[in-house]
């Protein structure tokens, strides 16, 4: 058994713990260790991606206990893809933060590594309870990063986030308890095997458990009506962490995709498609709200926060179709929206640091140094986020629209998605002209702080990835289609994990009592 699948969890855990222990390290060394550890995740993710690209599932049973007992990690095309996206965004985030943000509070790099551990674990786990545990790991690091470089604004936003997510955690446990009480298992593959055999009474309980879970994932993914906490919290976080937070909402989307495509998928008998009536309408509302919020934002960071909501809406519209084409669109759009969203957060921070008097406020005119460079980066990020050609947002949107057409949901999807795109384009053009053109009214120019070169490299790298998604669009789309095929047919996943245990009667283990 290769130990490759557990490396994305173990490496950040070890490095994070070491960074905590060796508190005597100089700042420079700490930064180098943080960047090196994040960089090391990249080849691991690429190796995993190459291993599973042919459609195999890598199953890693901890302690070599045969599944469904004990803990199991599963790498399939989707998980490997998400790991790669995370590694890229995390690298940009940590490089950006090394430009000075990490000094604002203690232990930034250790927390960053723990956050990565939680995210990677959530992508890899093949077990519902471990999904909960990794959610908590990433959340506690998330709270700490949110409070990094503490100011009153952040404390206010943080209380809401922590309380809401604690309620979410309790709901998660209620759902886990319900599902375990009904099925006697928490292994995702095993759940998908047991669920079709449930009687009507038990199926009703399983359905309520499933919908509770959807609520929890909706909080993580910032799906309305559970997403109002996000813009303020993300908008007030330090930019390097906010870039990584762009992945966090995707963890919620990933969980929805994983659980409702695999466990409550088409083969789940009486509990099949339990999420379908909820995800799609909620996603449309989220999309519309995200666009309107962007239009109403007073600062560029807040706008970037609302754009995360907007992109989650688009993503879940694709997921909510629950068709193969929808999954493919979701996979492609996930990569795009993560890169573009993270890039916009970083650009917003560059802008707000350049404008010493006004920060990122849109209503106060101010001048900034290196306006041409910052402006071009903003333009690229804005084009990508809004989904205009020629960048990858456009390709992703076309995939979502055509998937909706094929699924017969075109009227609602097309009208809301296209109208929301228009609103976002208006909002971003307004923000851009307010930031970069309204400079003549300024009388006193303040000396701007020097922005480290690596900040521009981080933004540029993320935007290069967005361009890469178009330049190698064929390859990525093909991979997304393969992933969608794998998701639409959960029997491969089930077989890989349970390896011939299909014959096991569901009541075998309950009889042990």
């Amino acid at each position: 058994m290769s130990h490759l699948p557990i490396l994305p969890i173990l490496m950040p855990l070890l490095v994070g713990s070491l960074l905590l222990l060796m508190s005597g390290l100089s700042d420079g060394l700490r930064r180098s260790v943080g960047i090196a550890a994040t960089l090391a995740l990249l080849p691991v993710a690429v190796l995993l991606l190459l291993r599973v690209a042919d459609g195999t599932h890598l199953v890693y049973a901890l302690g070599a206990w045969p599944p469904p007992f004990a803990i199991v990690l599963v790498v399939d095309r989707l998980a490997a893809f998400m790991l790669l996206v995370t590694a890229v965004v995390a690298l940009a985030g940590v490089v950006y933060a090394s430009g000075g943000d990490d000094d604002a509070g203690p232990q930034f790099h250790a927390l960053f590594q723990f956050q990565l551990m939680g995210i990677n674990g959530a992508f890899l786990t093949g077990d519902l309870f471990n999904l909960f545990v990794f959610f908590e790991v990433l959340l506690i690091a998330f709270y700490a990063l949110l409070l990094h470089g503490l100011g009153p604004q952040r404390v206010g936003a943080a209380i809401h986030v922590v309380v809401l997510n604690l309620i979410g955690s309790s709901m998660f446990l209620f759902a886990v308890g319900t599902l375990y009480g009904v099925t006697g298992t928490l292994n995702l593959a095993d759940l998908s095997r047991v669920l079709p055999t449930l009687g009507p009474d038990e199926a009703a309980l399983a359905r309520s458990g499933a919908l509770l879970l959807l609520g929890v994932f909706a909080i993580k993914a910032a799906l309305l009506p559970f997403g109002f906490w996000l813009p303020r919290a993300y908008g007030s976080a330090t930019a390097g962490s906010a870039a990584l937070f762009a992945v966090l909402t995707k963890v919620g989307v990933y969980a929805i995709l994983r659980v409702y495509a695999l466990v409550f998928g088409p083969e789940a008998g009486s509990v099949a498609g339990v999420a379908a009536p909820w995800v799609f309408p909620a996603a449309l509302v989220t999309l519309a709200f995200g666009a309107l919020g962007t239009l109403g934002a007073r600062g560029l960071r807040e706008a970037a926060g609302w754009l995360v909501v907007y992109s989650v809406g688009t993503l879940l519209v694709a997921v909510g179709l629950f068709t193969e084409a929808g999954y493919a669109a979701a996979v492609y759009y996930t990569a795009h929206s993560t890169f573009a969203g993270a890039a916009l957060f970083l650009v917003a921070d560059v802008v707000s640091r350049s404008r010493t008097a006004a920060g990122d406020r849109l209503d106060i005119p101010d001048v900034m140094p290196r306006m041409a460079l910052t402006g071009s980066l903003f333009l690229l990020a804005a084009i990508a986020v809004a989904g205009l050609p020629p960048l990858s947002g456009f390709a992703g949107k076309v995939m979502v629209l055509s998937a909706a057409l094929a699924a017969g949901e075109a009227p609602w999807t097309w009208s809301v998605l296209l109208a929301a795109t228009l609103v976002v384009v208006v909002a971003l053009s307004r923000a851009g002209s307010a930031l970069f053109w309204r400079t003549s009214e300024v009388t006193v120019a303040m000396p701007a702080p020097a922005i480290p070169r690596r900040a521009y490299w981080a933004v540029g790298g993320l935007l290069a990835c967005v361009v890469g998604l178009v330049a190698w669009g064929g390859t990525v789309t093909e991979y997304a289609m393969d992933t969608a095929r794998q998701l639409a047919d959960p029997s491969g996943y089930r077989w890989a994990v349970l390896a011939g245990r299909e014959g096991l009667v569901p009541d075998d283990r309950r009889d042990l009592q």
Binding site: L150, G156, I159, S170, L173, G181, Q513
Partner: protein
Amino acid sequence: MEALLAIAIGVLTAAGVYLMLRARTFPVLLGLTLLSYAVNLFLFASGRLVVASAPLTDKNFTSYPDPLPQALVLTAIVIGFGMTALLVVIALRALRDTGDDHVDGERHVRREDGPR
């Protein structure tokens, strides 16, 4: 036994939800704690209640309690404890920074950034 446990879970959840809807951070915190108690009992019950039997396994008994939910509860308690501790710290910090323990305490935020 089942009725007693069910009532306990119900009462804890109801009290927890009521307290969570209060406007001050301390009652909200207590509410979350009560809710996590309810969750722990609920998880424990998901392995079925077995009375007067061996704690894990013993060949003199034919019915055992399910050990897995016990492990889950233990994990949930540890995580819940850590999260509650963190929330206490954040709530105290908010009280110190804003001089107010309202959950939307930002009305009284002083403009300058950084701690006092």
